[in-house]
């Protein structure tokens, strides 16, 4: 979930509380429980009650704000989590570190509810679809103020290079996200490691810099809600947050394609209640449960049964569900090699120093 990350205080509090609770969890590790680690506000509370009633398994929910915080909590090892939900690249990292164990989907009765296209897209970070199960997905796109920009204009990344919007465009202050529009406009893969393609994209971004208002991360949603800019490059999750604050805001994914993010569940190797964890994941795929979660979170659900049951209006709402023809051009980030990561870092400095 690419929401805005409030720094320091809540994080420190969460780590502190998490650390305190750790000892209590260790004591009753053998009882019929399930320790779940998830983003904050990312699971409908009634779903937890329902699961506990139906199975008699007691759920202990731990929450976190950012994938990096999750990584710290997870590797600290004071709590042995049974099932964890996190973002694509973090799943890939933990798989490569050997922390994830394969899930036995053959025992699931609702796994076939999942949209095969999203499972296909997950193969970028989980090539055999054996380690992870998609939960929600979304995109990187343009959050725009409808009083300043029309919907048609935001159908192409070109709008971010339009001089009439000088000083009212916000880009992401993170290198890979900001390179996405440039790479897609040039028709390149967003996971490219080709130096010439990256250099071309850099030239385009240098050309854009004079009309950019700022490169922001956490501030974007608030700046857009305050009407300080016309457009911003943001994740759909953050866009949803900003749209709650200001009714004039809308979200769109340009036709050239973009980054697709997938938040997935996985079962850690150190899991102590494997059977309960698999029961829980199967439960999450059930139509009524997935629907309850969708209504609570309001991100695109990979559950085909849920999508089929939705009103036409919601189903075709491009701010929630990216249309198929756009989704075709969207790709999940792949972890890049060290050389390319360093190259990106250097190109980023070059752009910023212009």
């Amino acid at each position: 979930m690419k929401k805005f990350y409030m720094l320091s205080l809540p994080l420190a509090a969460a780590l502190f509380l998490g650390g305190c609770r750790g000892t209590a969890d260790a004591a009753d590790a053998d009882s019929n429980t399930l320790v779940v680690l998830n983003y904050g506000k990312y699971l409908e509370p009634s779903v937890i009650e329902q699961f506990e009633e139906e199975t008699g398994i007691k759920i202990k929910l731990e929450e976190y704000e950012s994938p990096e915080e999750m990584y710290t909590k997870f590797t600290a090892g004071s709590i042995s989590y049974d099932v964890v939900c996190t973002s694509d690249y973090m799943v890939e990292r933990l798989i490569s570190e050997g922390e994830v164990s394969p899930i036995d989907f053959s025992g699931f009765s609702n796994y076939q509810n999942l949209n095969p296209d999203i499972l296909e897209a997950s193969r970028i970070f989980d090539p055999e679809n054996q380690y992870s199960m998609p939960y929600f997905y979304g995109t990187l796109g343009i959050l725009y103020n409808t009083t300043m920009v029309s919907q048609e204009e935001t159908q192409s990344w070109n709008i971010l290079w339009d001089d009439t919007y000088r000083d009212s465009i916000i880009m992401q202050n993170s290198v890979r996200d900001t390179f996405v529009p440039a790479l897609r406009l040039l028709g390149y893969d967003i996971n490219t490691e080709d130096d010439r393609e990256l250099t071309d994209a850099l030239a385009l971004l240098i050309e854009q810099k004079p009309i950019v208002y700022a490169y922001y991360v956490d501030e974007t949603a608030d700046e857009m809600a305050a009407g300080n800019a016309a457009m911003a490059l943001v994740y759909s999750g953050e866009a949803a947050y900003a749209m709650e604050l200001n009714d004039d805001l809308s979200y769109s994914v340009p036709k050239e394609g973009s980054n697709l993010w997938i938040d997935s569940w996985f079962i850690p190797k150190r899991c102590t209640h494997r059977e309960n964890a698999e029961k829980f994941l199967d439960f999450l795929c059930r139509e009524d449960v997935a629907m309850a979660n969708f209504e609570y979170v309001c991100y695109a659900s990979p559950n085909q049964k849920v999508v089929d049951a939705l009103d036409e209006e919601v189903k075709n709402d491009p701010t929630i569900f990216p249309p198929d023809e756009i989704l075709e051009n969207c790709t999940v980030y792949k972890q890049l090699g060290i050389d390319t990561t360093e190259r990106y870092s250097y190109l980023w400095k070059t752009l910023k120093s212009e």
Binding site: W348, K349, K352
Partner: protein, 274 residues
């Protein structure tokens, strides 16, 4: 016995010095002179010659110099006024200039961001009086503005201190001997406050040169100072070796600027003020 006791009292500071000054410096030097495999190299230091890094250090020096100059021009007349008029509550007025330092500097910079933004208070006022909308935030000017705002007290205090130390008799003697106001300023007040000026210049220039938070918050990620490059290497690029190498170069610039100032500071009173 007495001497030993005295040394013992310095113990806490000694531990502090080793743990938080010498050890970190040693780590930075170690990282600066090694590659990721631990092999010895000068390449992290030599990386300063890279055009991108040269550009950002030149920009840092430029903005730091502008900031220092603006602070000096603002602070010097102010200190003259504060020290020459003997009015009631004089120390309270000086206190007012220091008061903002009691608030967290990040908060003050964030407040400026709200004031200067496109739909911010300053622009609303400008629009109301018919001047129209001016782009202020996320420019080099905004960054200099933030630096001046934050560092001005560091310029005021040493200059003010050196000014109040000038005895009124000295000025009276000068006037008795026929010096005009301008001559008094150039021949008497200026030389006597030089140590304060130098101290103030260092206190402002060094933090301005190394700052990265102000340029991030008021520059909107568009102004890349050498501090931002180092921050990026540590936080995003995760190349601690290059970040440390550039830090060492920056430290050399700081030492050089302080040494340069000490050449002018003949009586050595500059740093003694603080």
């Amino acid at each position: 016995m007495y001497k030993l006791k005295k040394q013992f009292l310095a113990g806490p500071y000694f531990i502090w010095m080793i743990g938080f000054i010498l050890l970190p410096l040693a780590f930075i030097l170690y990282y600066a002179l090694t590659t990721a495999d631990g092999a010895f190299t000068f390449s992290n230091i030599a990386a300063i010659a890279d055009p991108v890094h040269v550009k950002s250090i030149v920009l840092s020096l430029k903005l730091g110099a502008i900031c220092t100059l603006v602070c000096l021009v603002l602070a010097y007349p102010l200190c003259m006024i504060l020290s020459s008029f003997r009015f009631r509550h004089q120390s309270f007025v000086v206190f007012l200039f220091i008061l903002p330092m009691w608030m967290n500097f990040m908060l003050r910079i964030l407040a400026w961001r709200l004031l200067l933004s496109n739909n911010g208070i300053v622009n609303s006022i400008l629009a109301a009086v018919g001047i129209g909308h001016i782009k202020m935030l996320n420019t080099q000017t905004a960054v200099v503005f933030g630096m001046v705002y934050d560092f001005l007290p560091f310029m005021i205090l040493p200059i003010y201190n050196s000014m109040v130390r000038i005895k009124p008799e000295t000025l009276e003697a000068a006037r008795d001997l026929g010096a005009g106001s301008f001559t008094v300023l150039v021949k008497i007040i200026f030389p006597l406050t030089l140590s304060g000026i130098i101290s103030g210049v260092i206190m402002v220039f060094v933090p301005a040169l190394t700052s990265f938070v102000i340029s991030d918050l008021l520059g909107g990620g568009k102004v890349l100072l050498i501090g931002n490059v180092i921050e990026q290497e540590f936080m995003q690029g995760t190349n601690w070796h290059l970040g440390s190498g550039l830090s060492v170069v920056l430290m050399l610039f700081v030492i050089a600027s302080m040494a340069l100032m000490n050449v002018f500071d003949k009586d050595g009173g500059g740093t003694a003020v603080w």
